[in-house]
Amino acid sequence: MTSFQKCTLLFCYSVLAMAEQSINYNYHWGRGLKIPEANLTIGGYAHFSYENFERQSDIAKIDDLSLFITWNPSSQLHLFSELEFEDAVSTEGTEFSQKTFFVERLYADILINETFSLRLGKFLTPVGIWNTIHAAPLVWTTTRPLITEDFIFPAHSNGLMLNSQFIINNQNLEFSIYADNSQHLDPHKKDISFKNALGLRVNYEILDHMHLGFSYLAFKNQAKFYSSSRNHLFGIDLIWKKKGVELQAEFIHRRAPKQRGNETGLYLQTVLPLGHHFSAVGRYEFLEGTHLKDNILENSTIHLGIAGLAWRPYSPMVLKVEYRFGSDNSSIAQSGFFASVSTFF
């Protein structure tokens, strides 16, 4: 057992030991099991999906089974972990092992004052909108936009992040700067992960329902292809939400030396409420550059369209169906039909 896993188990044991001392608890679907005396919440989410790619056999699977543990031992300390089984059960077989078990997030937030907080541990890389809220019950499609996939930038960072929040012109401005050293801090990292990285994230509330974000990331990747070169990623994103209508867009450009691995892409997504908790979802995606996926290098220009329907009969639960189509997309984002059910618990 690695020291990282021991640390995770120690954290779980500590919070459970605290919980044992208390008897009052309450459970609310989608908000988890709360033990107020211990300032502890246990919850998570489950995600089941069905994929039917063109020119491939279909597959049904439990994509994610995630467990959240939140513990607030004091007013200025917030501990959070997310442990996850990913693709452990599918129509192709069952595997509960280190290959399918991940410590998705494990961090401590130290609330320094009203304005500043410090995050230490493993957290989601704050690039754009999608990556930090990627959980299936929160997003409108079963498939993930290409520019948020981990072959563009690793989804997790290990290190520290300073967060700050200001009110300027009566609107919120959030600013984060973070440093990663996954090479030494995460022994159980995924194949595509940072070697080290330095990043910046700015999120400004332009209007009450509209946010504009900027991301910058300088990183070296663990993957052999990238190991000798430092990548620079620039991103801009925008989201507007009002009365069930949602417009969301992200753009990224990732630059690597010698034109190896340069990528430019974007997505534009619209959500329109149809009534009775149904929403129509449409997304256009564009990606141009040298993509490394499943150890295969490919240079292409991809256009994708996604048309779908989401039904949210209860707030924590969403059922989705969608069809993906495109041009020059067969190697990394095949056309096909996707359906899923996901719920927080």
Binding site: G30, R31, G32, K34, T41, G43, Y45, F68, T70, N72, S75, Q76, H78, F80, L111, N113, E114, I133, A135, P137, L138, Q165, I167, N170, Q171, N172, D208, H209, K241, K243, G244, S315, P316, F344
Partner: protein
């Protein structure tokens, strides 16, 4: 006897015609923080701001989802419908942050605020009393005003 009947009639009639023209954001008397504006209060209720300037945790309190004042509060202060807020709280749950405590009535709100340090809640102007501190007032538009009697206690 006539006086008694008149008094009872007056007591019954006056509250039913009294109007809740303001939404009052309240804290306990001991709350030291003095500077509040709409954005800061919104951030506390949406749990974007978790602690005060003394490093103590804010404890925002909401009325039950079926309470008519909750809808007025969501639309007036937070500028969001309760359903939109459900999605917002789903995101916060994924980030390990729980929504505010919930109490059933404005009387329970007053009790909670007066007995819990750093609690922050809201009541209609009908329920104002001297045991809490009003830190912000929002005048309700004519379409949002209600008779005090129509707002459950």
């Amino acid at each position: 006897m006539r006086t008694l009947i008149l008094s009872i009639s007056f007591a019954l009639i006056v509250p039913s015609t009294a109007i809740a023209s303001e939404l009052l954001i309240i804290t306990g008397k001991e709350t030291a923080e003095k500077k509040f504006n709409k954005k800061k209060i919104t951030n506390i209720f949406l749990r974007r701001q978790l602690i005060n300037q003394h490093g103590e945790r804010w404890i925002p309190v909401n009325l039950a989802s079926h309470h008519p004042l909750r809808k007025i509060f969501s639309e007036t202060l937070l500028d969001q419908y309760p359903e939109e807020l459900e999605n917002y709280w789903n995101i916060k749950y994924f980030q390990g942050i729980s929504p505010p405590y919930v109490v059933e009535s404005q009387e329970a709100m007053l009790r909670f605020i007066t007995t819990t340090p750093n609690a922050i809640g809201y009541i209609s102007s009908c329920f104002k009393n001297n045991n809490v501190k009003v830190i912000f007032r929002i005048a309700l538009k004519s379409d949002k005003t209600q008779k005090c009697n129509d707002l459950k206690r």
